[in-house]
Subunit: 290 residues, 2 copies
């Protein structure tokens, strides 16, 4: 029986690559959506076994709306994976870069290539599409001349398009972190060493410094912290925090202590860290260890 995995975008997209990296050997039935909200809904309602969504990128930072979806969804983070994201310009086999009048891609991909795109003449059109891969597919399907897409190399290979330019994103070092979402009971038994937390502090309830020192005291080390506004509650602040640890049981004991000192604690997931990109900052830096 194959696993049902829901993601945003179509086959060969970066999300599809992330799915394949998380499940290298399993038989997968892909459910493809056009928004992150539909992805998390499908997991919450058990329409899919798993969902995969991007949550942060080294150039644009955290994808805050996706953190919100994870925080409110009826599921947990079961795994993470990090991909090296390199952007390519692709078009029909017959085209050269001088034939291109307009370029299509996902808005975040276009943002990452802003410097590159500004070098084209003013009449050149930059057009937002649903996602990177489906814009490329459309060029092939509709035989669109004068049009290019920005997407990953694998998209050009999948749809038989010609690469006209390579590694065009403004900052060459470009990694995106994806998480696997699903019901806890679906988690395979394996040793975990990382967790994602959300907690809320009120200025008269506790101090962030105290929370961090509690974690440090028990050898739970921060790899990411981000304060996050709570709309309409100006005196409260939420934090999204990633931590790494050695002993899972000990970690849960500390979380019991933490619950008593914060206004709200949500353990978004406990999982194994992706060490396949050991050079990438957001997965490995240990901040408050001594």
């Amino acid at each position: 029986m194959s696993l049902k995995v829901v993601m945003q975008g179509i086959e060969s997209s970066f999300h599809h690559q992330a799915v394949e990296k998380i499940f290298p050997n399993e038989e997968i039935t892909l459910l493809m959506c056009d928004s992150f909200e539909k992805v998390t809904n499908a997991v919450s309602k058990a329409i899919a076994d798993y969902g995969v969504i991007a949550i942060e990128n080294t150039i644009v930072g955290s994808i805050l709306p996706n953190y919100g979806l994870i925080d409110t969804g009826n599921f947990e983070i079961l795994a993470e994976t990090i991909l090296d994201i390199q952007m390519y310009v692709m078009a029909l086999e017959s085209e050269s870069i001088h034939d291109i009048k307009e370029i299509h891609s996902h808005p975040v991909a276009l943002l990452q290539c802003r410097d590159y795109l500004q070098k084209f003449p003013p009449q050149f059109k930059v057009i937002e599409g649903k996602d990177t891969a489906s814009e490329a597919k459309k060029i092939k399907d509709q035989n669109l001349r004068g049009v290019a897409a920005i997407a990953g190399k694998q998209v050009a290979e999948r749809f038989g398009l010609k690469i006209l330019d390579s590694n065009i994103q403004d900052i060459k070092e470009n990694h995106t972190r994806f998480v696997l979402l699903g019901k806890k009971e679906k988690q395979t038994i394996q040793q975990t060493d990382k967790a994602s937390l959300k907690f809320v502090l009120e200025h008269n309830v506790g101090s962030l410094g105290n929370v961090l020192n509690l974690l440090t005291t028990f050898n739970i080390n921060l790899t990411k912290i981000q304060s996050f506004p709570i709309v309409g509650k100006p005196w409260q602040y939420a934090f999204f925090v990633d931590v790494v640890f050695e002993d899972e049981n000990f970690f849960f004991e500390v979380m019991e202590m933490l619950k008593k000192t914060v206004k709200e604690l949500n353990i978004l997931g406990v999982y194994k860290q992706d060490v396949s990109h050991a050079e990438v900052e957001f997965s490995n830096a240990i901040l408050n260890g001594k």
Copy 2:
């Protein structure tokens, strides 16, 4: 003699509104650029007296590349201002919403209106432009039928366009924080109560919890914290932090202490907080006070 202020975009843009809010009574000569990098370059090279750039938004979060520009620029943050950002659809006076075949705006504005835009039929085109206001101006200047722009209300007023839809961003509560950049000697003498800092920690040098406790001990309260990857240095982490305080002299004494415990400290600016949007989280929440 008028002040030379550089910004991204054209007259009536949100950046222009921010400039007018910061300098309500001064005579201003606007220098208009098409990128944030050109804005900070103009301030660094003293081509302009001041620059204004957006650095965070309640929906999309921090604009990380702009933090990078501030960190490396030869200037300081001299003030902040917060604007309520409401998005409007606008077109020529003769048009109705049913006539519109394509919509243009700045990529971040388009991202903020993604749900709204997805309700249009698939043949509807969403096109990235340089900024919100200049896309609207183009519609007027070139008498473009079937084309709408997404921008602030003031843009429709400025260029005589008709508003076809209002408050269309996905999340109604939408605030953007702008900062004024300039040379320190240009700062008018006034009492300051807020600062933006960047510091770097190594896991064997100090702990984030200790840094925060040092600040708390001296009544310097966090209003924002964000960890930030240092590309190519996986074991180091940078933090962008905003703090509020009561006594400026005391604040600088604590900074001298802080310098001794972190690997690197950069005071990005010391200024007066904008309390005109007291309901907005990122300017007012006090996190680690006791």
